[in-house]
Structures are given as C-alpha cells and as structure tokens.
C-alpha cells in the first residue's frame, strides 16, 4: 500500500490546476477587491463537468469518486479559496442532500441540472438563533392542503443569491427540538422568497454569501426532502460530507500559500543567500510541508471512506478540523516568510491569510468538530436534565405541540391586530364563514365561551365575534350545564362535543383537562383570558391576556368583513404529530434466550452505558440473561 492517488486522479488534478491557473488566477485579485462572483468561471466549470464530479452520469454528473471531488476543491482553492467554496457548497451542500434523500422525481428535476452545472445549489440551515445548535431553528413550514407555507429566514448562506435551488430546513413540528425539523427544496424566484444584502466578508470574497428571507413562500408538498422530521438527520448527514469539501478548501488555500512561500524563499536573498537556506526559514518550510502532508492524508482518507460507504463522520470531522487549523498556521507562516511584501494587497499570501480563517468557522466550527470527534470516542453522555435541545424539555401539553405565542406587545388594539395578522398568515380566510349554529363536530371554526365571560348578557360578545370570525358558537361545560347560556349540545370537551376543525377561539375559558382533550385536534387554538396563569395559555397557539369585554369587541371589529361568503368544504390544516424518537441503532436478539439488546437502554448490569450501540459492545460482553456470547446475537 503506497498511499497514493491513481493516475486518473492526477490527470484530473492537472486539468483543474490548468483551468485555475489560466481562468481564475488572472482575475483573483479583482474578484477579491470587488467582492465579485465569477459568473463566467462558474459557467465554464459547469461545461467542463466540475459541478457534478461525484454524481452518477445518469443524473448529469461525471461519475467520479469523492476523492476526485476533494482534489477539485483543493486545486481551485489553491488559486482562489472563494472559488473553492463555490464548488464545495454547490456539490456537498446544495446537491448532495437531493442525491442522498431525494425521490427519483426530485433527482431528475433538481439534481440533474445541478450536476450538469446548469444551475447552482445552496443550503440553508444557519439562522440568527440556530447555528451549531440546529434545535434553535425558527423558520417554520406549515402544511396546508398540497403545499407548505414557509416563513422565517436564514443567514450566511454561501452561493446566495446566485444559486437557483436551496435546500432549506424548517420546523414542521414545534417544541420538540431537532425531531421537528424538515428539509425542503426551494427555488429562487418563488413568490415571497427574497434575499438580503450580499455580505462584505473578510475573505473568500469571490464567493457570494447572502441572507434568505421567506415570507409566506408556498412550497409544493412534493418538494419536501425525505420525510417530515428527518430534516436534522439530513442536515447532519450532509454536513458529514460537507466537511470533506471544507477540509479540501483549507488544504488548497494552505498549499497555495506554501508554494508561494517556497518560491519566494528561493528568490529573496539576504545575508548573501536565499532566505530559504536560513535555518529559521527552512525549518518553517519543513513544518509547513509536514502539516500539509498530514492534512492531505486525513482529507483523502475521509473521502475514500465516504466513497466506500464506510462510516466516515469522525474522520471527516478530523480532516476538517485539522486541515483548517493548520491552514491558519501555514498561511500565517507563508505571510511571515514574505515579510512586509506579504502584507500588501494584491499579494496572494495576503489573500490566502484572510481566506483561510473562514475554514475553522463554517460547516461546523472547529469546536463543534471536536464535539463530533469526542462523541465518537465517548458515545452519548449519560442523560441529564439540561443539555441538547434535540430532546423535548417538557412533556407536550394536553393539546399537543402548540406555538404558545402570547401577544404582549403594545396595548390591546395592537395585540388584536397582531393576532389577526398571524391568523391570516396561517391561512384562515375571514371572507368566508359558517352559520353560528353549525354542529360543533362539523364546524371549521368555533368561538367558545367559558365562565370568564361573566353575565349572560356578555354572550352577545361571543355571538358577534362568532359572526365576524365566520364561526359557530360553543362553550365550556359549566356554561352549558350550570349557567345554561347555551344548549347542552354546544359544550366542547371530551364528554361533550369534540372540535376537530381549524380555528378555536376560547374566550374566558381556563382550560380544564376534559375541555382541552376535546380540542386537541384543533389546528389553531386562540386563548383570550384575563388570568395569565390559566392552563389554556399553555395549550394555545396564540394568546391575549385581557378582559373579554375589552378584547372581544376589538377582535370582532378587526375580523368583520361584512357579509360572509359561505365557506367551501373545510380543508383541514394539518396538526403536527410529535414524531417518535428515531432509534439510535439496531436492536439484536440473543440466540440463546431471545433477550433483546436495546441500545437506548444499554446493559446496566454489565456496566454498559445507555446509548451504547451493539456494534460498540466489548467483544467479551455476554448476554445478561443467559451468558451467550455476542456472536450468538442476530439483528432483530
């Protein structure tokens, strides 16, 4: 074993190096100075087949291996780190999730033009409150009929706004952490999909980076990538591979700076000989070359593991972390060798010095890479109360996962206006309505009165609001049974009528358990109550704390659109079901007794920590029930 690339790899390297030297090098300084995206270069890269190197030919790719792709990013970055990341973000982030998780239709529609280089791809995960911890994702996607409504935004998105397709992550099930995140393919140009400013960056200035803004973007259901709730898994798998791209980029930037430094060290004469023959400089070069060789082996080996479908998550994290850490050291040393000359704009080492920094930051900071690597060594930590946001922190309320957005800004009028805006945004159309006496179980919307409504004369507020909201009238059990404000068949609850429609407005209802169980399938729950501690607020999507006498007339006025059109047959807005926790690994059954090893539980008696995969059990581990050896187990 010689640890060498194949002749085919070296031919490809020569081809890409020639392209970079001829097409990019002459304009690299200009791109850097002007913060300019090299449209022509990227187009040519597509024509030459660089944009789909690791994808099968049937999807427009070049059908080459992961190592070829790593070499391509390395060679481009050797000349311009910005162009390197254009390719890396396009291939690893924008295209790979579609390749790995897309349906055949999605691959034909989106992957093929990306791989052919006709379109550019990008990946939207990072948000102001969600970077290293994807559980903080705030962009939402709500299923309505045959499409999702996407709202929110993404920051620091490489290749935006140049890219044509974006793999975007959004919350489809709130409140359950990363298990509630789903992935979508979003096209540039769709209504409501905007870009913020192109960022002004320290380095990699030839790559474009912008903010994504989603304002009620309608994403067709068929653009869901994978299944609902699989978004986090898709993002993590993508980043596993993306790290190889960034590692290659760091390697290329460092390689370019190193070569420049060697050349300069041979030319620059001080004390009568080239500075490269001064021990202080020659030792620097020796260290730089050693680090580069280490980094290259880490990167290429991770690429080979990926290509051969061997687990490579830890190795790609090591490659990314090490290559980018040494890229800072190597570019720093290179600039030092150049001395004052290297500090000048227009010098390649000056650009490389700036370009290198980003590689320790993006696609998982090097701190996160160390988390990844150490988790492979140590396994899952023992369960604790605090910690990762990927686990629900509290049991879901009775009505399931809810937004629980209590509108507090401004006075009552502003709060009501905000509520109406949210409801309209969620897709409730108040130009249509249903008769107020529609049976509860058939009603699309219900305005319901609780004991907090006060005297019977206040029921007029409920009826007015019901008419304005195009809703039927309901009540809590005591309002029908004890106060007798409405007939018995209008009380909502587990023992009464169940409301399964789209909008439930609870007025003066405190939220008894049996009432909440009767509305747990409601798509949207609005709570209006003067007691901020009422249980209903923990079970609602939107809430206003205030007196019904004050809030209800305001809301009635805000929703009143005059005569309502008869509502079309109800399209039920989908309620997210908290998805079940994915198993962390396969279960195995003992051939000696039928005992099932569950990795989530481990084997406490055998001192095997919960979370230990069967594959990671020590070789001398035996069945806790019958002492059969590990090899007597079969996959459950």
């Amino acid at each position: 074993m010689l640890f060498q690339t194949t002749p085919a790899h070296e031919e490809l390297r020569a081809k890409i190096r020639a392209f970079a030297e001829e097409e990019i090098k002459p304009i690299a300084f200009q791109l850097d100075q002007n913060n300019e995206f090299p449209d022509d270069v990227v187009r040519k890269m597509g024509q030459m087949g660089f944009m789909g190197i690791p994808y099968p030919k049937e999807y427009g790719g070049a059908g080459l291996d992961a190592l070829s792709y790593a070499i391509a990013v390395e060679e481009l970055s050797r000349v311009d780190g910005g162009v390197g990341v254009i390719l890396s973000a396009h291939v690893s982030l924008g295209s790979w999730p579609i390749f790995a998780f897309g349906t055949e239709e999605q691959k034909q529609k989106y992957l093929a033009p990306l791989a052919r280089g006709e379109k550019i791809g990008a990946f939207g995960l990072t948000e102001p409150n969600a970077g290293s911890d994807a559980g903080g994702t705030e962009t939402t996607a709500v299923l309505k009929g045959d499409h999702y409504i996407l709202n929110g935004g993404k920051i620091f998105i490489t290749n935006a706004p140049k890219a044509d397709t974006y793999v975007v992550f959004a919350v489809t099930t709130p409140d359950i952490g990363t298990r509630g995140i789903s992935a979508f393919i979003v096209e540039k140009g769709w209504k409501g999909f905007y870009f913020g400013d192109h960022y002004d960056k320290l380095g990699i200035r030839s790559s474009s980076t912008a903010e994504l803004i989603f304002d009620n973007v309608e994403v067709p259901k068929e653009n869901l990538l994978g299944k609902e709730g699989e978004g986090f898994k898709i993002a993590m798998a993508t980043l596993d591979g993306g790290r190889i791209g960034i590692a290659s980029q760091a390697l290329g930037i460092a390689q370019g700076a190193y070569e420049n430094a060697v050349e300069y060290a041979k030319e620059r004469i001080q004390f009568g000989k080239p500075i490269g023959f001064q021990q202080t400089i020659s030792f620097k070069l020796a260290d730089m070359a050693t680090k580069l060789r280490c980094a290259r082996f880490l990167v290429y080996s991770a690429a080979e593991l990926k290509e051969n479908h061997v687990p490579y998550g830890m190795e790609s994290a090591m490659a990314k972390m090490y290559a980018s850490d040494i890229a800072l050291e190597v570019t720093n040393d290179a600039l030092q060798i150049f001395g004052g000359a290297g500090y000048m704009k227009g010098m390649e080492v000056e650009r490389a010095y700036r370009d290198a920094k980003i590689t320790t930051i993006y696609e998982g900071t090097n701190e996160i890479q160390r988390v990844v690597i150490s988790s492979h060594i140590m396994g899952k930590p023992p369960k604790s109360e605090s910690g990762s946001s990927s686990r629900p922190k509290k049991p879901a309320p009775i009505t399931g996962v809810r937004k629980k957005m209590i509108l507090r800004d401004g006075g009552p009028a502003e709060q009501v206006a905000a509520l109406v805006e949210h409801l309209k945004k969620d897709g409730h159309d108040f130009t249509v309505g249903i008769p107020v006496d529609t049976p509860i179980a058939q009603a699309e919307r219900v305005v319901s009165a609780g004991k907090g409504i006060g005297d019977e004369e206040n029921m007029i507020l409920i009826e007015d609001l019901a008419r304005a909201a195009g809703a039927a009238v309901g009540s809590s059990r005591p309002v029908a049974e004890t106060l007798k404000y409405v007939p018995l068949n209008r009380y909502v609850g587990m023992s009464g009528q169940k409301f399964t429609g789209n909008l439930y407005i609870a007025c003066g209802i405190s939220g008894a358990v049996q009432h909440l169980k009767g509305i747990k399938d409601a798509s949207t729950i609005v709570a209006i109550n003067k007691n901020p501690g009422a249980a209903i607020f923990k079970n609602c999507d939107y809430g206003i704390v205030g007196e019904v006498e004050e809030i209800l007339p305001l809301l009635t006025a805000a929703l009143d659109t005059g005569e309502k059109q008869p509502a079309p047959p109800m399209v039920k807005m989908k309620r997210p079901r908290p998805p079940k926790e994915e198993p962390i690994g396969k279960r195995y059954v003992c051939g000696g007794c039928g005992y099932e090893y569950v990795p989530e539980l481990g084997d406490p008696d055998g001192e095997i920590a919960a979370g230990t995969l069967f594959e990671k059990l020590p070789e001398d581990w035996v069945c806790p029930e019958c002492a059969e050896a590990k090899d007597q187990f079969i996959e459950a």
């Binding site: 179980a441 587990m494 059954v589 051939g591 039928g594 019958c626």
Partner: protein, 406 residues
C-alpha cells in the same frame, strides 16, 4: 395396537394424537386436539426422530416395536427437547440400551436437567453443518436456535429431501388419520389453528424464524417433505405454508381488514364496537372481525391480531386504568413482539375516562412500529346520537388508512 402411517419409502409416522389435553402448554385451549409427531427411518440402521408427550408414550412404543420387528433401535435424533416431544426419551433409553443419541450440546444439557439418563449411552453431539449417514440416507443438521427454544435444530435428509423441521411448520389440531396437508382442506379448516399455534408459541422469535427461512431458502428446491412435530406433513404446495411463515415472522398482516376487540362491562362499549363494525361494512369494508376480549381466549386474539392490518381497541376505564383483560391482551402483543399495525381507539368512562390515553401510551411506548389514528371515539357511559359524527370520522379514518396502505 400400533397406529402408523408411511411418509415415504422407509420413513414412517409413529406419533400419536391427543384429544384429552385441554390446554396446550397448560395455557392455550386446543378444542380440536393436537398431534405429537415422531418419525422412524428404517435404513441399514434404524433411526427415531424425536419422541412424543408422556401422555401418548405407550402408543409410540407400540409403533416403534411393530416396525422394528424385534430388532433394536440404533439411533435417536432429538431435534427439540421440549417435553411434549422429549418426554419419552428415558423410556426409549431403557428399552433400547444400545441406542445412540444424536443432538445438540444444549439439548444434552437439557436432557440431564430434565433427569434423562443419557450418560450411559453414546451421545453424538452435532452442530450446524455436520452430516451423518445411516446407510443409504445421509442427513445434515441445521441449527434453529430460538425457534423457539435455544437447543432446537432441524434435520435434513439429503437422500430423500425430508426436512424434520421440529416445531417450525407445526399446527394445532389432531391428525385423526390424515397425515398429509393435502389430505385435508388446510386453507379452510387448518390455517386459523396453524396461525394460532405459530403466533402464540413462536411469535416472539420472528427474527430467528427469518434466519431459519433464509437457511432453508438455499435448499428449498431439494425439500420434498416437511415433517413437523405437530400437525400434518407437507409434500405438496410447500410454498403456500412457507410464505405464511415468512409473513408472520416479518410481522406483516395477512389481511387488509379491521379487527375490533372490545372490553365491555354492561354492553355499552360493545354497542359502540358493533356500531363501528356496521359503519365500516356500510362503507364497503367488510373484512371486519369483532371479539369480546373477556370471552375470547387471548391466544385467539393474538392470532387474529397477526392476521389483520388494522386493530380497533375499545375499552372501558376500570380502576382508573385499562380493563384488565384488555391490558393482558396488550401485554401479550408486547410479549409476542407484534409490530407494524395501525390502531384506532374507542374509550369509555363514566366519570374519569382514562383507558384511551393509557392504551395509546402503551401502544406508542411498549410496542414497535405501530400507528395510532388520531380519530378517537370517546364515550361517557354510552354511545349517543351526538357522537354520530365522531363515529363516522373514526370509520372514515380507518377506511382512508386501509386505502392508503392498499
């Protein structure tokens, strides 16, 4: 007097039927009896494959004695040590002092545990892949751990293609003269009892059945006879039964239809179950089976649950919990590893209705890969007209789910 049947040249069924036993394994009712099969091969050497339950030991002895015509028995092959097959080992050892015993390491350990004195005899310990020749016939031994005991093996006669399959491919119901599956209307008269046998006795060990099927898959074209330890011998249409085993052991439903299991104290929950059954039939779903869990032995419930794709559980609340019989049925589903079903829930409670939430929690947390439909029918004591829409929604959800999986 002897009572034997010929399986094929030189191979004889020497087992017996039992109609007196009420509960198989002292737990599962067997109203149509059961057979304990043992087989005798008369080659240059004579070989008895397994023995029978103690209750029919005398019949086995008469059968063997008759066929041996005064000669000694040379070999005893034990595929499975459970006492309904192994109980007569000691008697064979006493009658044929020179008999050599062939079995697995674990089976010999069990023989000693059960108190059979094998140590005075030649014990031939075999493992996966070993072969043995009795004259014209050569057999090979294949491990079948956890189908459904750890010591189990099956023996394949490569000369005539007979597979001695131990408890695999067995069934309840006494043979009563018939020996072969093609001598009865199996799909009409036997399949339900065969399913009840498999799912209740071996149901938990699906992955191990799959392993055995995979091993058998390699020699499927060479298998001419399947000789199980209970029920008929298969010599035609083997694929029919193998396919059933494959389905059951993968926990895939056989039938797209609805099983409604209700727990009712005074008939109100039962009425709701019946109303749902009618609704479903009205909507064209007629593959509906309704069971009262209190009056149906749980082994029948389990068997039907393995059969149907959709299960409706209708239960009253009892001591703020699930009705005990329903709870025991759920526990059996868990014990038998049942998976991949869609559930719907009907709950009833006169003051604090808990059964629905508790059943859903059990299904979600204790069972594997189950779906519970959102549409739940909740009753306060009894079903009234105001719940008609809920009932309809539940029926629609079931129909929709059945169609989705079509």
């Amino acid at each position: 007097m002897h009572c034997v049947r010929t399986v094929t040249d030189n191979l004889y069924w020497v087992g017996a039927n039992d109609h007196r036993l009420a509960l198989f394994e002292n737990i599962h009712p067997i109203p149509k009896g059961v057979s304990y099969n043992a087989y005798l091969l008369l080659d240059k050497k004579s070989v008895l494959f397994d023995t029978v339950d103690w209750s029919v030991c005398r019949q086995l002895m008469e059968n063997v004695e008759y066929l041996l015509e005064g000669k000694a028995l040379d070999y005893l092959v034990i595929n499975h040590m459970e006492p309904d097959h192994g109980a007569c080992i000691e008697e064979i050892l006493l009658r044929y002092p020179k008999v050599k015993v062939i079995s697995t390491e674990k089976a010999f350990m069990f023989m000693r545990q059960f108190g059979f004195h094998v140590d005075g005899h030649e014990c031939i310990e075999v493992k996966e892949g070993d072969t043995f020749t009795f004259g014209d016939h050569t057999v090979t031994f294949v491990g079948a751990p956890m189908v459904h005991w750890p010591e189990a093996m099956v023996t394949f006669d490569v000369t005539n293609g007979v597979l001695f399959s131990a408890d695999a491919f067995g069934s309840f119901i006494a043979l009563d003269g018939k020996l072969f599956a093609d001598e009865v209307n199996f799909d009409r008269d036997w399949i339900d009892e065969a399913r009840r046998y498999l799912t209740n006795i071996v149901g938990k060990y699906g992955p191990h059945i799959q392993l055995l099927l995979k091993k058998a898959g390699g020699i499927l074209d060479q298998i001419k006879y399947i000789c199980p330890l209970h029920g008929p011998v298969w010599r035609k249409d083997l694929g029919y039964f193998v396919e059933k085993y494959d389905k059951w052991s993968r926990y895939e439903p056989e039938v797209k239809g609805v099983m409604i299991a209700y727990a009712s104290m005074y008939g109100n929950t039962e009425a709701a179950a019946q109303a749902l059954a009618s609704k479903l039939c009205e909507k064209g779903v007629t593959d509906v089976a309704v069971y009262d869990v209190s009056n149906t032995h749980v082994s029948y419930l389990i068997s039907e649950t393995f059969k149907y794709s959709h299960i409706v559980l209708a239960s009253v609340t009892y001591n703020l919990g699930i009705y005990p019989v329903m709870k025991s049925y759920l526990e059996d589903m868990k014990a038998l590893n049942l998976q991949n079903r869609t559930f719907a829930i009907i709950e009833n409670g006169s003051w604090a209705c808990k059964s629905g939430d508790l059943m859903e929690k059990f299904i979600d947390e204790e069972l594997k890969n189950m779906t519970v439909l959102n549409e739940r029918l909740s009753l306060a004591s009894a079903l009234h007209a105001d719940k008609a829409i809920e009932l309809d929604n539940l029926a629609n959800a079931l129909v929709e789910s059945l169609n989705e999986q079509a």
